[in-house]
């Protein structure tokens, strides 16, 4: 997993609420057995017509936003299925940070496993960031995970909360499984206890 420390980039505005995982990556692209290569199909049905032509007014097709690395989104982003293909597709496109008023739980978790930072902000801050994102390709937003701040292109800064353990893993690009395997003895002893207490499990 790539580290996440600071990011300065173009933010794409997607004010629609309830952007679900079927929109982010439709099911026909879940048949892959790889993690990579999904970026071209990110938001596929919003981004392309049935015959594969680009839909010009979709935000990521606009020249200003083709290089976006941040999405500022409406409420409840990532609702729906558990498919990790959603963050894989975002990452493959180049998105490293999504900012919204809320995220669906599984999507939120999945982001951290892939070096993507999901940031929850109150509505009034998301409104300011959405306006900043609408300025297009000449505006740059900065996300600093160390100081936990987002700074708009005109210098307004907003703090955000992030779980300390997840921050540590993101900043150092750590692999969860490696960390957990260090606790193998604790897992062994839990299993030994459970075998007595709940042998049917």
């Amino acid at each position: 997993m790539d580290k996440f420390t600071t990011l300065t980039g173009i933010a794409a505005p997607m004010p629609l609420v309830n952007i679900d995982t079927d929109m982010i990556i439709p099911k026909q692209f879940l048949k892959t057995i790889q993690r990579s290569g999904l970026g071209k199909n990110l938001f596929d049905e919003m981004r392309y017509t049935q015959d594969g032509a680009e839909i010009a007014d979709f935000v990521l097709n606009q020249p200003s936003y083709r290089q976006a690395q941040i999405i500022v989104a409406g409420d409840n982003f990532g609702c729906g299925s558990s498919r990790e293909h959603a963050p894989w597709a975002l990452l493959d496109f180049g998105i490293r940070c999504v900012i919204s008023t809320s995220f669906a739980d599984i999507f939120f978790n999945n982001c951290f496993k892939n070096g993507i930072l999901p940031i929850v902000m109150p509505q009034e801050v998301v409104d300011v960031l959405m306006e900043d994102a609408k300025k297009g390709g000449n505006a740059r937003m900065t996300v600093d995970l160390e100081t936990q701040t987002v700074t708009t292109s005109d210098g307004q800064s907003f703090g955000f909360e992030v779980d300390a353990f997840r921050k540590h893993c993101l900043m150092n690009g750590l692999d969860d499984i490696g960390l957990t395997l260090e606790k193998a003895a604790a897992i062994d002893s839990f299993e030994a206890r459970a075998k007595v207490a709940r042998p049917w499990a």
């Binding site: 558990s82 957990t180 299993e191």
Partner: protein, 471 residues
């Protein structure tokens, strides 16, 4: 004397392997269900790091999303990518030695139907799967939720998950349901009341008389859609119905172990005075047969209502409703019961169990469909066999339904069962998202009885009217 605890608190406490100072826990996982779509990258990760599956005996795999449900499926999967994905699961199950129900096995079916059916899912367990509808298993008083593929790999390698505890939410359904109203209507009513983000950050415990009166099948339907309300999991405290359902299942404990298990399971309830962070109460009598009109499960109304207008909403929902109405091809003020239906889909992990098929067959019996196509896709090979034995299959076939083999099918349309652009479907599944059942397809979520009613009339229909006819 310990402080009063919720059911969620109790299951959580019994599975904590390690707790860090910041509250992050390593939680032990009793059952890991696996399907072909969200697992190949996880198994590949194990291979690349030389890791094994820590507890293959607690890992259960079954292909369901990609499998064809047509009667000729023994000839193999035509779509190459789908075939590769199912073959990858065959190979991974074999290489890593996990429990496996291949496509050719009569016990094959939708993972969330197979788990309970085979007795893998038991009260008080932690159950995960790379699938959001893992919430289904909460009906047994098991803490069950969906995980991503990285977490699938984590559970395969360590039999644990890194978790922070969610908050407790109580959803109480008081009183009894009226005739024609089902578990599906309860779960959609709750989402209608709380919104699709209303449960975010919570584990829901469903309780109250109407929940207690549901069968295990109905309880699974309710918990299945907890995720559609944004909750991490849904739970229902186990009771005699739960024990009766589990007893004698292939992987349920037997003899003295059964007795010990039941005495533990009887401790799994929320203590008097335990704290809930959020409480929602609905009256069972007030719930009507429901349908969705939009592209989010929260876009739900009684069948007697009319299509709303964007002006009825505020904030970001105004734009979303306009977009939904355009997508669905609906006009504000139109009666929901006037909406013509092309296709009816009965099945899925929400409503593909035997009781769902019984409810639909009761409505359909002796009548003919008026829609272009209607299909029943049983949730497992065993549900299919039982429905045939009970004569339900013949009722559906006589009425003009296609009688399919088990799988996820048109719920998410990863196999050939898909809607064409503009095709309108009454579906017993769980998501009405844009494109969910096929690009441009229009989904109305309903109960099995309501889906059957729509099949007979060719439009969304209040099943209570058909019931009145037969009385």
């Amino acid at each position: 004397m310990t402080a009063p605890r919720t059911l969620y608190d109790k299951i959580w406490d019994d599975h904590v392997v390690h707790q860090a100072e910041d509250g992050t826990c390593l939680l032990y996982i009793d059952r890991h269900l696996v399907h072909e779509v969200t697992s190949p990258q996880a198994f590949e990760g194990l291979r690349m790091t030389g890791r094994k599956v820590r507890a293959p005996e607690k890992t259960i795999a079954v292909p369901d999303h990609n499998v064809p449900t047509t009667l000729d499926r023994a000839k193999g999967i035509e779509n190459e990518e789908s075939r590769i994905q199912v073959e990858a699961l065959d190979k991974n199950a074999r290489d890593f030695g996990v429990n496996y129900y291949p496509v050719s096995d009569i016990r094959q079916g939708i993972v969330h139907i197979v788990g309970p059916e085979q007795g893998w899912t038991l009260p008080g367990m932690t159950v995960v799967c790379g699938d959001s509808h893992t919430a289904t298993h909460g009906a047994f008083g098991a803490l069950a939720h969906g995980i991503g593929t990285s977490e699938v790999e984590h559970v395969l390698a360590t039999q644990t998950l890194i978790q922070k505890k969610s908050k407790n939410m109580k959803v109480e359904i008081t009183g009894s349901l009226r005739p024609g109203v089902t578990a599906k209507d309860i779960t959609m009513a709750v989402i209608g009341a709380t919104g699709t983000a209303g449960g975010t950050g919570y584990v829901i415990e469903y309780c109250g008389q109407a929940i207690r009166e549901l069968s295990m099948e109905g309880r699974m339907t309710v918990c299945n859609m907890a995720i559609e309300g944004g909750a991490r999991a849904g739970l229902i405290a186990p009771d005699e119905k739960t024990f009766a359902y589990c007893m004698g299942r292939p992987h349920a404990p037997k003899g003295a172990a059964w007795e010990a298990a039941v005495s533990y399971w009887k401790t799994l309830f929320t203590d008097e005075g335990a704290h809930f962070d959020k409480v929602v109460t609905l009256k069972g009598e007030d719930i009507a047969p429901l349908v969705t009109w939009g592209t989010s499960p929260e876009d739900v109304l009684p069948i007697t209502a009319t299509v709303p207008s964007p002006a009825d909403f505020t904030g970001g929902k105004v734009e979303a409703v306009q977009r939904a109405l355009d997508y669905m091809g609906l006009t504000p003020g139109q009666k929901l019961s006037d909406i013509a239906i092309d296709t009816v889909f009965i099945g899925s992990c929400t409503n593909g169990r035997i009781e769902d098929l019984r409810a639909a067959a009761e409505v359909v019996k002796g009548k003919k469909i008026k829609v272009k196509r209607a299909m029943v896709v049983p949730g497992s090979g065993l549900v299919r066999a039982q429905a045939e034995e009970e004569g339900l299959a013949q009722i559906f076939i006589d009425a003009g339904f296609e009688w399919r083999l088990a799988g996820c099918s048109m719920c998410l349309a990863m196999n050939p069962d898909q809607l064409a652009p503009g095709e309108r479907c009454a579906a017993t599944s769980n998501r009405n998202f844009e494109g969910r059942q096929g690009r441009g397809g229009r989904t109305h979520l309903v109960s099995p009885a309501m889906a059957a009613a729509a099949a007979l009339t060719g439009h969304l229909t209040d099943v209570r009217e058909l019931m009145a006819e037969t009385v």
